[in-house]
């Protein structure tokens, strides 16, 4: 199919300043066993192209699932018309943007390919873990799931660029819910916060088969636990909450298109302004944030972004100081600022915009025990369950599934419904401990929403646990 698409594209030979074609083919399959019953096994095969035209200073795009020559010709006509009709009203002279013409191939490493494992084995893998979750009559719902995605992308430019990238993703999940009277609690593993690139080898790497008994035990402990207390205290966050904290209060506010106002009608603006880049103290000296497409199994690792720009590792925040924002080539020109290769589209039918890709907290020096032992009055929170932040990405309130009180340097009892709130602009300055490289976990979410038209995309976040001072903590009703 790729050869035909390329032949069609070259045959179009449009008389415009620049033209590109982005072909995407994505397959996925989800296997879920709920209450020991296999749920419907659905697969999807999503294939289409987007043609982007730059002409007379304007830019237009057209996406189609009609991959015939006439289908591509129709898309080219739509894209060209939009580019020319809006050229005099465009937010930027798109003709001034230097667009690369990259050439090459990239394929993510996959040791145990999903497609080479029999369906019955894939089902058994989920079924066997589901069966271990129902350990008590108070457990009212339980499930295990495996979500596999394979993605292939061809990018062609009218000036000879041609890249081909292949990716494979796996998102495992476990969920168990317990109830007594009107009180219901859940413990989950993966699902929306855990995804990596690779094949079924990921399950062994993360100990998927060892999680179910722990979750079943913890959900019953939570059901019997008291509510999280209210107060200002030290807060130790596990990596499966840190990913969300990084995502919402560092990632989104640093997206250059938000800073430039593109998202103000939907996802929001940012408390960060262009004049803060290069000098603003975002956090304490312990805060080091990187845009890192070099971690092979992280969710958003790639060789080129969707504008064909080569992706490389960049410090975004170093020793607490904001160095650069997250913006692709269009935003970089508009803002006159350096950025990163993060112009990404969720699929063939949506245009690229500035996204997070992999955004990580670099490890520090502390062991887990170091951080706990330094806390007189605090709480350790695990696994995000609630997230909300204002449209400038400043005032946030997050909730976790489980909390452990910390008293006089020791982990104490479990509490349920732990929530905390803060303000991004000051929260990171209270960072006082960062876990060492042994505690660094590669996580990511398949569900980052943004953009008009709306797009949901995969982003990676790797982080060790981290300790914050004097955070407002509270519980449920």
């Amino acid at each position: 199919m790729l050869e035909t698409i390329e032949r069609h594209f070259r045959a179009l030979a449009p008389a415009v300043d620049f033209c590109s074609l982005r072909f995407m083919a994505e397959q996925n399959e989800e296997i879920e066993v709920r209450q020991d019953v296999l749920q419907p096994v659905d697969t999807a095969d999503d294939v289409g192209v987007m043609i982007t035209v730059v002409d007379q200073g304007g830019l237009g795009y057209a996406a189609t699932s009609d991959l015939t020559l006439s289908g591509l010709r129709g898309a080219l006509e739509h894209a060209t018309n939009w580019a020319r009709q809006t050229a005099s009203h465009a937010v930027v002279d798109h003709g001034q943007i230097t667009r690369p013409a990259p050439v090459g191939d990239y394929a993510a490493h996959v040791a145990l390919p999903w497609s080479q494992t029999p369906l019955s084995d894939r089902i058994d893998r989920a079924r066997s873990q589901c069966a271990r979750l129902k350990t008590d009559d108070r457990i009212v719902d339980w499930s295990a799931s495996l979500w596999w995605i394979s993605s292939e992308q061809l990018y062609l430019t009218s000036d000879g660029g041609r890249t081909h990238q292949r990716f494979e993703y796996l998102i495992p999940g476990l969920s168990v819910t317990a109830n007594e009277g009107s009180e219901t609690v859940s413990r989950r593993y993966g699902g929306f916060d855990f995804g990596r690139q690779g094949g079924l080898e990921i399950l062994d790497q993360v100990g998927f088969d060892q999680q179910a008994p722990r979750l079943a035990q913890e959900v019953l402990q939570l059901l019997a636990a008291p509510n999280c207390p209210t107060g200002t205290m030290d807060l130790l966050l596990s990596p499966d909450q840190m990913y969300l904290q990084i995502h919402e209060s560092i990632g989104h506010p640093l997206e250059l298109d938000r800073i430039l106002g593109d998202e103000r009608n939907y996802a929001g603006t940012s408390f960060v302004t262009l004049d803060m880049l290069g000098s603003y103290r975002y956090g304490s000296d312990l805060l080091n944030i990187t845009f890192d497409p070099t971690i092979a199994d992280e969710f958003a690792t790639y060789q080129w972004d969707d504008d064909g720009v080569t992706a490389d590792r960049q410090y975004i925040i170093r020793d607490g100081i904001l160095e650069r924002a997250l913006g692709g080539i269009t935003s970089q020109l508009r803002a006159d600022q350096p950025g990163v290769a993060n112009s990404r589209a969720c699929s063939w039918n949506r245009p690229p915009i500035d996204r997070m890709a992999n955004l990580n907290l670099e490890p520090g020096d502390d062991s887990f025990d170091d951080m706990v032992s330094g806390v007189e009055n605090g709480i350790y929170m695990q696994r995000n369950t609630s997230w909300s932040i204002d449209d400038s990405r400043n005032k946030f309130q997050f909730g976790c599934e489980m909390g452990h009180l910390i008293r006089d340097g020791e982990l104490r009892g479990i509490v349920k419904k732990p929530n905390y709130k803060g303000i991004s602009a000051t929260f990171w300055r209270s960072l006082k401990g960062v876990g060492n490289p042994d505690l660094f976990e590669v996580l990511g979410t398949p569900f980052c929403g943004k953009g008009e038209p709306n797009q949901v995309i995969r982003v990676g976040h790797a982080s060790p646990p981290a300790l914050f001072a004097d955070v407002e903590v509270f519980g449920g009703e």
Binding site: P40, V41, L67, W82, T177, T184, K395, E452
Partner: protein, 450 residues
């Protein structure tokens, strides 16, 4: 060829290929949309999207499996003839599904419609060309900071099965969702949507928004955390109550004790008697059939006079829990949520609010304590501090954290007589067709915590 004739033609051919006890379910959705994005009253990204998806579900006894594929709608010349690209691909998928069926166990919760209930709903194409609308929008933005998204074109959905059922839904609509910004985060949110685009109606919306924008020029006020009397405008109330669509309206959420309305059953918790909530498909703008071929009833009453009435029941839940399905999709969420009107005239709202907060929009809601139905979120866009029935100043954004049991229960003063129809501007994967019809709500002791 149209999407409808393409789909029906494909369905006839594929359904004829069923053998023995095989049953085929086909779900189609497609759209042809112009998306034009604006920022600072200029064009950020203009484009056109044409997409067609077909979900093929093959059933044999209690075994079933499905695959979704993109359709081309095009044809290519083969052996001197123009032949459909989609037919051979679809046939190949059915063969793959046949193979997969042999590897799958029986599904005890499989249920699909076996009574032929065909239907058709489609609106005429009455929209002007997209570039004409873009010109009007650009003129409206002159001298102002306009940011938003125009989506216009056709949306189609279809169902067919090998038992002879055919359903079709098509609409041609425009949805312009935008904001006028004054400075920083101070803005007025606006929407103009429907199956027609009238320049004078659009201009009236623009004029109304600019009038509100002038109020934002006053010095904003920061209010300290605490409890306040508030007025939630219809859009804000729809967003707040719409959180119930996150896994609280379906039978499965009740049977697994995860609904945030559980206390309405276990503790007989009640909302104010003025609260009646329904999924009103009859007055909505979405398809009246679901993916297993069942028709949606005109409405399902979910909360009646403050007490719980019914759950949305998907075919799968119906089979699992031994009840009758009521047209819900797999996720058991409402697509046309509607709250009954109250008795307070909108014109008296400021007077009855007295001193408090007028909330036009809320943002980024989430449950902070699901069993208590406690929801946190932010105020956004044009929200105002009101004193003695007069708008005094815009407020800086505030975080609230409050339970629906209190807000629509003991603390609810009343709902407005007037209601607003809100068409979903969402476009994740495809343009949304859901809607909401809500009044505004006057509420006492609404809790702000940050």
């Amino acid at each position: 060829m149209t999407m409808k004739s393409d789909f029906y033609g494909l369905a006839d051919t594929l359904c004829a290929k069923m053998t023995g006890s095989e049953v085929l379910l086909l779900n189609f959705n497609g759209e042809e949309t112009d998306f034009v994005r604006f920022n600072m009253s200029q064009v950020r990204q203009p484009g056109h999207v044409q997409q067609r998806y077909l979900r093929i579900e093959l059933i044999d006894g209690q075994r079933h499996t499905s695959a979704t594929l993109t359709l081309s709608g095009g044809s290519e010349c083969r052996n001197g003839r123009d032949e459909s690209v989609d037919l051979p691909r679809s046939i190949a998928v059915i063969e793959q599904l046949r193979q997969r069926l042999t590897e799958l166990p029986e599904d005890p919760h499989l249920l699909y419609n076996t009574e032929s209930t065909s239907s058709e709903t489609q609106s005429d194409h009455r929209l002007p060309a997209a570039n004409e609308v873009v010109d009007q929008i650009l003129r409206a933005g002159i001298g102002h900071d306009l940011v938003g998204i125009l989506a216009m074109g056709s949306i189609c959905a279809g169902f067919a099965n090998s038992l002879g059922q055919r359903n079709w839904f098509a609409s041609h609509s425009a949805n312009f969702d935008w904001s006028f910004y004054l400075r920083a985060d101070k803005a007025v949110k606006c929407a103009y949507a429907g199956v027609e685009w009238k320049a004078d109606q659009f201009q009236a919306k623009v004029d109304g928004a600019l009038e509100q924008l002038s109020v934002l020029e006053r010095e904003p006020r920061t209010i300290p955390p605490g409890n306040y009397r508030v007025f939630l405008a219809p859009g804000a109330l729809a967003d707040l109550v719409g959180m119930l669509n996150w896994g609280s309206l379906g039978l499965k959420s009740y049977e697994t004790k995860q609904t945030s309305l559980l206390r309405m059953i276990t503790n007989k918790a009640a909302l104010d008697a003025s609260v009646t909530l329904r999924d009103n498909t009859a007055d909505g703008v979405t398809a009246n059939f679901q993916s297993q071929g069942f028709l949606k009833p005109d409405h399902v009453e979910l909360i009646s006079a403050g007490t719980h009435a019914d759950w949305l029941v998907s075919p799968r839940s119906a089979r699992e829990y031994g009840v009758t399905a009521n047209g819900a999709d797999d996720w058991e969420s409402a697509s046309c949520l509607e709250l009954a009107a109250g008795t307070i005239p909108q014109a008296q709202i400021l007077e009855q609010l007295g001193t408090g907060v007028f909330i036009n929009n809320v943002w980024y809601l989430n449950f902070s304590d699901r069993p208590a139905c406690r929801i946190t979120g932010m105020t956004r866009f044009a929200c105002f501090w009101v004193e003695d029935g007069q708008i005094v100043a815009p407020i800086n954004v505030m975080r609230f954290d409050e339970t629906l049991y209190r807000a629509l229960g003991e603390n609810l003063i009343g709902l407005t007589q007037e209601r607003e129809m809100i068409l979903d501007a969402g476009s994740y994967s495809r343009r949304a067709t859901s809607s909401a019809r809500f009044p505004g709500a006057l509420i006492d002791d609404f809790h702000f915590n940050l």
